[in-house]
């Protein structure tokens, strides 16, 4: 967690969109920005890019206030996928509360997916996070393209790991919100265990998830 101050009633959570180069991490954030109402979030901040490729990171902040008055800020980051930016990936990954791994569904990208996932596990360990316990969801993006790995093959690949799996097309704007909601739920579960979100702050998992992703589900919960 980036920041948790019970006195001031502020909690800042970090979620990271990880994955190989050009798998659609920034597109995911752009779609979230488009699909979710602006009342519960800030603007998407896209740091400098080089030829449309992320070189630093993108940031999309979300807000929710718990019934206890705790202001929760959820900062969603992307990392640069290119191999050469490993140090930046490591820096962004520091103190993350949850990770969405965005894989490229195309058959020819399978090796890159595996390499990037290995890199994620390595970097998590290097910044002191346990890859086995950190909230994680996997999204297979670009389902709209031809030459993609079949869903069954992907399911059987990940089945034993128990990691929640989503299929999406960020370009066609489907599967994106579902991925994000699942990441929020698993992150909530982990945070609730350590910070008593429901017991101390009266914030349930559904209120947390819906409050951040569905505008009209719990009016009055949002700050603005």
């Amino acid at each position: 967690m980036i920041h948790y101050d019970t006195e001031a009633g502020i909690m800042v959570i970090k979620l990271v969109y990880y994955g190989p180069a050009l798998s659609g991490k920034t597109t995911n954030l752009l779609r979230l920005h488009d699909l979710l109402p602006c009342s519960g979030r800030g603007d998407l901040m896209v740091l400098d890019t080089a030829q449309e490729r992320t070189i630093y990171f993108d940031l999309l902040p979300f807000f929710i206030t718990a019934p206890s008055g705790l202001k929760i800020k959820v900062k969603v980051f992307t990392v640069p996928g290119q191999v050469k930016h490993d140090a930046t990936r490591k820096a962004v990954l520091q103190r993350a509360d949850g990770v969405a791994f965005i894989a490229d569904s195309q058959v020819r990208e399978s090796l890159n997916n595996a390499t990037s996932f290995e890199n994620l596990e390595q970097n998590l360990a290097l910044v002191g996070l346990d890859p086995g316990r950190l909230p994680l969801v996997i999204q297979y993006n670009k389902r709209d393209l031809p030459g993609i790995v079949a869903e069954d093959a992907i399911r059987s690949l990940w089945w034993s790991s128990g990691v929640p799996l989503f299929f999406a097309s960020a370009l066609e704007a489907w599967g994106v919100v579902e991925t994000f909601q699942c990441l929020l739920r698993t992150t909530y579960a982990a945070l609730d265990a350590t910070c008593c979100l429901s017991a101390r702050h009266g914030l349930s998992m559904e209120a947390f998830t819906c409050g951040l992703t569905v505008p009209d589900a719990s009016p009055g919960m949002r700050e603005r």
Binding site: K14, M45, L59, F62, A87, T88, A91, Q94
Partner: protein
């Protein structure tokens, strides 16, 4: 961050408005908007406290809010959060539309400044972070390299030691091999010579016996002839024969002949025994392992050495009743020989050597060699079984004698120890198992 004194950032850490904006950023803006006829332009935080402000003319600190009656506010947003407001106020006379317009312009300008500054800060922080992490990684890599260099250095040093150890081992093995070869060739030579000597010796022996018989018969015959001559009454002829016999000292010759024969036979028998001892000592005719009587082996060794033993040496043998033992006879004899020879060399005159054999336990025997020589100094006792260790002058000995004893006894499954004080002689104790086969 691992390095001390480094700057620590967490990407995405919360920023305050005062972190992002500075007075030099906002004051010119506030100043110019006040120039358009306002009473006050300020940037206030969420509690309404002014962070930066500008008023026309003299600045009077405190209680300047609200100055004017007309008031216009614009929120300042920092990464999606309202963190403060642009606060403009003017007197009655101002056009509200102008005030709103000015507020919007200043608000937009401040917000875009905040946005730009935040991006710049985040990029800078990320850069710092990345550089720091790379630096830490380099430090770590350096540490690992130093460690591995250290390891290789140690390895190299040990390598030298290992090479030295191995070289010493090789040298020992080579010396042992030389010694064994020497022994083997001595053994073969002895065996060959023994064979060559045995053949003529046996016909010398048998001829001597036959010759003795013949001579006895000849002298009998001469006696018979003389008797017959005396009885025939021919005194003259008998007298001449008698004179001739006395002239030739035949009586003395006949007396001496038996001595000569017995001495020659004894000499030849001794040669035969020496040859057979030499063969026995070299164990050239036996399999590597054989059953042998240690007492006999010691006797054999002594007889092989007999030429080296001075007349004044006093060798006492106290042989106990010991069972036959199974071991490599040749090696064992060599071991005995080296110990006895050592004693002979240590005390060339007046040597008193006690050799005692006894049962030690149910399946071990001991052989003790106790001499009255000068003994072995305490500080070299631990080294005497080392190869090439010698107290003799260079060239007079290889320093292998006791090493051979040690190896021989070890290869028979036994042990050898020394107990000595300077000027009080030395005691070597060899303990041997009754069944000393070590290669099974």
């Amino acid at each position: 961050m691992t390095a001390q004194g480094s700057i620590s950032f967490v990407v995405g850490e919360e920023k305050k408005l005062t972190d992002v904006l500075s007075e030099s950023d906002v004051l010119p803006l506030l100043k110019s908007v006040v120039g358009a006829g306002l009473d006050l332009a300020a940037i206030v935080d969420m509690t309404g406290e002014p962070l930066w402000f500008f008023v026309p003319g003299e600045t009077a600190p405190g209680a300047m809010l609200p100055l004017g009656t007309a008031l216009e506010c614009r929120p300042i947003i920092l990464s999606g959060d309202i963190v403060g407001r642009v606060h403009l106020s003017a007197g009655e006379g101002i056009d509200p539309a102008l005030l709103r317009f000015l507020a919007r312009v200043v608000g937009d300008a401040v917000n875009s400044m905040v946005q730009t500054n935040l991006k710049r800060m985040m990029v800078t922080e990320l850069h710092t972070k990345v550089v720091q992490m790379s630096y830490d990684e380099l430090l770590e890599k350096n540490r690992q390299l130093s460690a591995s260099e250290q390891k290789y250095r140690e390895l190299a040093e040990h390598l030298e030691m290992r090479v030295q150890e191995r070289t010493a081992e090789l040298k020992q093995a080579y010396a042992r091999m030389l010694q064994q070869e020497k022994m083997a060739s001595v053994g073969q030579l002895a065996a060959g010579m023994a064979h060559e000597i045995n053949n003529p010796l046996s016909f010398v022996l048998s001829n001597l016996e036959t010759l003795e018989k013949y001579v006895r018969r000849l002298s009998e015959h001469a006696g018979f002839c003389e008797g017959q001559l005396r009885q025939s009454g021919s005194d003259d002829l008998a007298g001449r024969v008698e004179d001739r016999r006395r002239e030739q000292k035949i009586d003395f010759i006949l007396d001496d002949l038996s001595d000569l024969f017995s001495q020659s036979l004894a000499g030849a028998e001794r040669v035969k025994k020496i040859v057979s001892d030499l063969r026995g000592f070299s164990h050239i005719d036996e399999a590597e392992y054989s059953q042998l009587d240690v007492n006999i082996e010691i006797d054999r060794t002594l007889s092989v050495l007999s030429s080296e033993i001075p007349a004044d040496a006093e060798i006492t043998r106290e042989f106990g009743a010991i069972p036959l033992i199974v071991c490599r006879g040749a090696l064992l004899c060599q071991a005995f020989l080296n110990i006895i020879r050592n004693a002979l060399q240590a005390k060339p005159s007046g040597l008193k050597l006690l050799i005692r054999t006894a049962m030690n336990s149910k399946d071990h025997i001991t052989v003790v060699f106790k001499d009255n020589g000068p003994g072995i100094a305490q500080d070299i006792q631990a080294r005497i079984f080392e190869p090439f260790f010698t107290t003799h002058e260079v060239g007079s000995g290889m320093g292998m004698g006791l090493k051979v004893v040690y190896d021989a006894v070890s290869s028979c499954g036994g042990t050898v120890t020394v107990n000595s004080r300077e000027d009080h002689g030395a005691v070597f104790v060899i303990t041997l198992p009754v069944n000393g086969r070590t290669d099974e």
